[in-house]
């Protein structure tokens, strides 16, 4: 049963198309605060306990022009225990797309988590907050499954090679 759950989880992580995607993440919230549109993306799509990438795009609400290098802090805490806060600054240096501000958080456990994004200097703080459901972490070997499993590919290629080469004639020594 556990294996089936794991298999479904893997396939879900691979397949599920969420609402929208940017910088490799899913759009979780997009709101206008103090004349600025703030959009928050998270990655991966299917959230599990462990590393979580949060990207923030701040734009001028009127012109749509992105605003760069703003002081942004991302905070996460379990809904059931708001005292256990995890925070990290979101910077453009950490983002692949330099129009975004990115931060990496490490969610230690599963459950429902509240993510809050605070853009310093705005009159209304916190700017944006939303809840996410976080699944239990995968077993360690699952995270390394590609590293463990690539010999299977090599064996498959080799088997094809040998079959093509030797199917018509016996071995030469």
């Amino acid at each position: 049963m556990r294996n089936k759950v794991l298999l479904i989880a893997v396939l879900t992580a691979w397949n599920v198309p969420a609402l929208a995607y940017a910088d490799g993440g899913t759009v979780r919230a997009s709101e206008v605060r103090d004349g600025r549109r703030i959009t928050v993306f998270t990655s991966p799509t299917f959230l599990r306990a462990g590393p979580l990438d949060v990207s923030v795009l701040v734009q001028d609400a009127a012109s749509g022009k992105p605003l760069l290098d703003l002081p942004i802090v991302v905070t996460a805490y379990p809904i059931l225990d708001p005292r256990r806060k995890i925070s990290a600054p979101a910077t453009t240096d950490a983002a692949t797309n330099k129009l975004l501000h990115a931060a990496q958080l490490n969610l230690p456990e599963d459950g429902t988590w509240r993510i809050e994004v605070v853009v310093k200097g705005l009159e209304q703080e916190p700017a944006i907050g939303f809840d996410v459901d976080v699944a239990p972490p995968p077993p360690p070997w699952l995270g390394m499954s590609l590293w463990i499993g690539w010999p299977l590919l090599a064996i498959g290629v080799f088997a094809c090679h040998q079959w093509l080469v030797h199917k018509r004639r016996p071995f030469s020594r």
Partner: protein, 774 residues
């Protein structure tokens, strides 16, 4: 610069895998192109090189430039990415006529043994010919294009990195197929009329126009994610979609109609032979459609010459140093001094492993560096072995000894010592007992001194030393080997100094006659044969790791693998020893040991340790190897007896064992290498030297286990498994006539290897006892 534009231009995703693949492909092409250009400058002009490298650059630009991150915001940028993959890169790659350059640029063994047989395969040649026929090529291209532009599938690719890779790979592959008949890169010879290309390109343009029109004139956003993402600038999602459609329309028309125009002109006004059907088949140097001429691929015979490979002795400075008669002594003396420190500190220093040189240097640094040395070079520890320095003194004391007893000329005594050593390591926690470690080091010195003082040759190294046996077996996986450079020189040599010795230099003391030596087994890298050979015909040359495992030829000083039961037992012990040694430091096994000790009402875990040791080192190997040999013999219908089969196939387990030792020792080395700093400071302070400062004991705590280390450990096991599987398969192949029989003979051993591999993977994921640290 505009900050917005500046931010866009700095948005380069980091994809090392793609970069390595492209650089490697480019390097192979350039290597082959340079070779071919020396033969025919006219055909292999710079334009071909520029086109191929341009094709690779287009792929890089599409997938690893700012285009990639912005493709999630703008459909038109995403379209540009796909156009680069479908229109630009494939055409440029084919214009580089990559078949011969890529083949010629590959290393010879890969070209000859791996690629050439595939190119000779009628099935592959037939499939390629059919696939690149215009009818099939057109269908494949159009199907891939429309399939991935269906909204549901496009959204799937946008939502998952994995599917996005699949989409890009499909686009690139189908486009390579599509552009092949259009470009017809050398040495293709189409077996169809070139007139087919007129409707081919025309119809391709029509379907492209249809798709473009759908995107351009649609009054709703076809791909939902683009309606959800925030808009950068004032462009709406619908306007963005229309722009993407126009981009596809214009670029596609140019890409399809310009070649159509050129081909049409050629057909109407070019040479008369252009439009004729050419019979598919081999030209003298060329090939049929999709068929690669084989003379360039090379033949197996050319591989036999050992002089063409890398020779360490040809490396400037290093080669000169190694040829110097006293080179070995120069590397032995530092280790001799270190061994002196270890023995002194082991007896006189604090009896805490992590604070004593005898607890840190041998068990963390020496083991780690030894195994890494075997991986990247060869048996370098035996070369630098300090234990044999007193042997030279012993020889002066008593020059001519007696020969080593005939009944002891095998590995059995070394096997017994090795088992005792591995058992004592666990039973008496040698890593945490400086005085025992020092005692063992002293015993090695004494044994080498006495045995080599009494007997001829390097009897201690060849028949007794357990460390030497470990190194001999593991060095079968090393990339360097001491070997004759030109066999013809040895045929005409009358004096045979390499085995008999010269006035100043002894010959091989391990009885390895160079012309008949193959593999690193029993070779201590003492360099005597190199120094003795008057023709400078012995080198330290590159060799394929593990390639000697499946060859059962007669070896000087060793004989045949299949006849050496002692050697087979040694290999099996070292393989299972690797797993036992690593498993016994994992938390579950240690817990089990403690529980067993409690259950038996014992105070010391010695009995439980011995029990585990007996199971893993004797019962398990005996059952598994005997079972595999019996099944192999029965299923493969082999004529050899069971012991001979077991002896022969046991050799193929060695790479997996090597992978486990590597994993284990590298774990300790990379997590605890800094522990030598405070220990040395403490040792210096104890001797009255405060110049190294106060010991910083925080260095003696092991560092956090990084992800890269876990990945590295898994890769070591992966490679060990693959080499073992391959060696086992080659042994099975050498004993059977047909593929099904080979697979049947190989299957039991393959299963055993996979079981050991799974055990290794389980071990690396367990919490480990950090030995030798605080």
């Amino acid at each position: 610069m505009n900050p917005f534009l500046d931010a866009c231009l700095r948005s380069w995703p980091w994809d090392p895998g793609l970069l390595v693949a492209l650089v490697l492909t480019g390097a192979i092409y350039v290597r082959g192109w340079c070779f071919l250009r020396r033969r025919d400058r006219h055909r292999w002009h710079a334009g071909k090189l520029a086109a191929f490298l341009g094709g690779l650059s287009s792929i890089f630009l599409a997938l690893a430039s700012p285009i990639e991150p912005f493709s999630y915001f703008f459909l038109q940028v995403h379209m540009l990415q796909h156009l680069l993959l479908m229109m630009v890169a494939p055409a440029l790659l084919w214009l580089g006529a990559p078949m011969f350059p890529l083949l010629r640029g590959l290393p010879q063994p890969i070209r000859v043994y791996w690629v050439a047989p595939l190119l000779r395969s009628p099935m592959i040649r037939g499939a390629f010919t059919r696939l690149t026929h215009p009818l099939w090529a057109w269908l494949v291209f159009v199907a891939a294009t429309w399939f991935w532009h269906l909204p549901r599938l496009y959204e799937l690719a946008l939502g998952s990195d994995g599917w996005h890779y699949v989409q890009h790979a499909t686009f690139l592959a189908s486009s390579l197929v599509f552009w092949y008949p259009v470009v017809r890169p050398y040495p293709s010879r189409p077996g169809w009329s070139l007139w087919i290309l007129v409707p081919y390109l025309l119809l391709a343009d029509i379907q492209n126009t249809l798709l473009s029109a759908l995107l351009t004139f649609s009054n709703r956003v076809l791909y939902a994610p683009y309606a959800e993402v925030p808009r950068l600038g004032n462009l709406s999602a619908l306007e963005d979609q229309a722009a993407a459609g126009v981009l596809l329309w214009v670029s596609g028309s140019v890409a399809f109609l310009v070649p159509l125009f050129g081909i049409g002109l050629g057909l109407l006004f070019g040479k008369k032979t252009v439009g004729k059907i050419q019979k598919p088949g081999f030209a003298s140097q060329g090939a049929g459609n999709g068929r690669i001429a084989l003379p360039l691929v090379g033949s197996v015979k050319t591989l036999r010459s050992p002089t063409t490979g890398f020779d360490l002795l040809r490396v400037p400075w290093l080669g000169r140093f190694l040829r110097w008669r006293h080179a070995r002594l120069c590397v032995q003396i530092p280790l001799l001094v270190l061994a002196g420190f270890v023995i002194y500190d082991g007896f006189r220093g604090p009896q805490v492993g992590a604070m004593n040189l005898a607890g840190v240097l041998p068990w963390i640094h020496w083991r780690g560096l030894l195994i890494l040395g075997l991986l990247v070079c060869g048996n370098v520890f035996c070369m630098a072995c300090p234990f044999t320095v007193p042997r030279k003194l012993a020889r002066r004391w008593r020059a001519a000894g007696r020969p080593w007893p005939r009944w002891l000329r095998n590995k059995w005594s070394a096997v017994v010592l090795l088992v005792l050593f591995l058992w004592a390591y666990e039973a008496f926690a040698l890593w945490d007992s400086p005085w025992l470690t020092a005692g063992i080091a002293l015993a090695f010195f004494a044994a080498a001194f006495v045995i080599d003082g009494l007997f001829q040759g390097a009897s201690f190294c060849k028949y007794v030393c357990p460390i030497g046996q470990f190194n001999f077996v593991q060095s079968l996986m090393s990339p360097l080997e001491i070997k004759v450079l030109a066999p013809n020189v040895c045929v005409s040599c009358q004096t045979k100094e390499c085995i008999r010795g010269s006035v100043d230099v002894p010959g091989c003391e391990l009885h390895l006659y160079q012309p008949r030596k193959s593999s690193n087994m029993d070779c201590t890298f003492c360099l005597d044969c190199i120094h003795a050979c008057p023709h400078e015909n012995v080198g330290i040359v590159a060799t394929g790791p593990s390639t000697q495992l499946w060859r059962d030829s007669f070896r000087s000083g060793i004989g045949r693998w299949s006849k050496r039961r002692d050697l087979a037992v040694l290999v099996v012990l070292l393989v299972f020893g690797a797993f036992a040694n690593a498993a016994l430091m994992t938390e579950p096994v240690m817990d089990w040991r403690e529980k067993t000790t409690d259950a038996l009402g014992l105070k010391s875990p010695l009995v439980a340790t011995t029990l585990v040791f007996l199971i893993v080192m004797f019962a398990a190997p005996l059952l598994m190897v005997a079972g595999a040999a019996a099944l192999c013999r029965r299923m493969g219908r082999l004529a050899q007896n069971g012991i001979e089969v077991a002896s022969r196939y046991s050799m193929c387990l060695a790479p997996l064992g090597f992978g486990m030792w590597l994993t284990h020792y590298c774990f300790h080395f990379f997590t605890s290498y800094a522990s030598v700093v405070p220990t040395t400071q403490r040792f210096a302070a104890d001797l009255g030297g405060s110049f190294l400062g106060v010991p910083v004991w925080s260095y003696a705590c092991c560092v956090t286990i990084a992800d890269w280390l876990l990945r590295l450990e898994i890769v070591f096991l992966d490679v060990g498994l693959l080499l073992s599987l391959y060696a086992g398969y080659r042994i099975a192949r050498s004993q059977t006539q047909h593929w099904p029989q080979t697979l049947a003979a190989f299957a039991p051993w393959g299963l055993l290897m996979i079981f050991l591999f799974a055990a290794g993977i389980w071990i690396v994921f367990q919490p480990m006892q950090m030995r030798g640290t605080m």
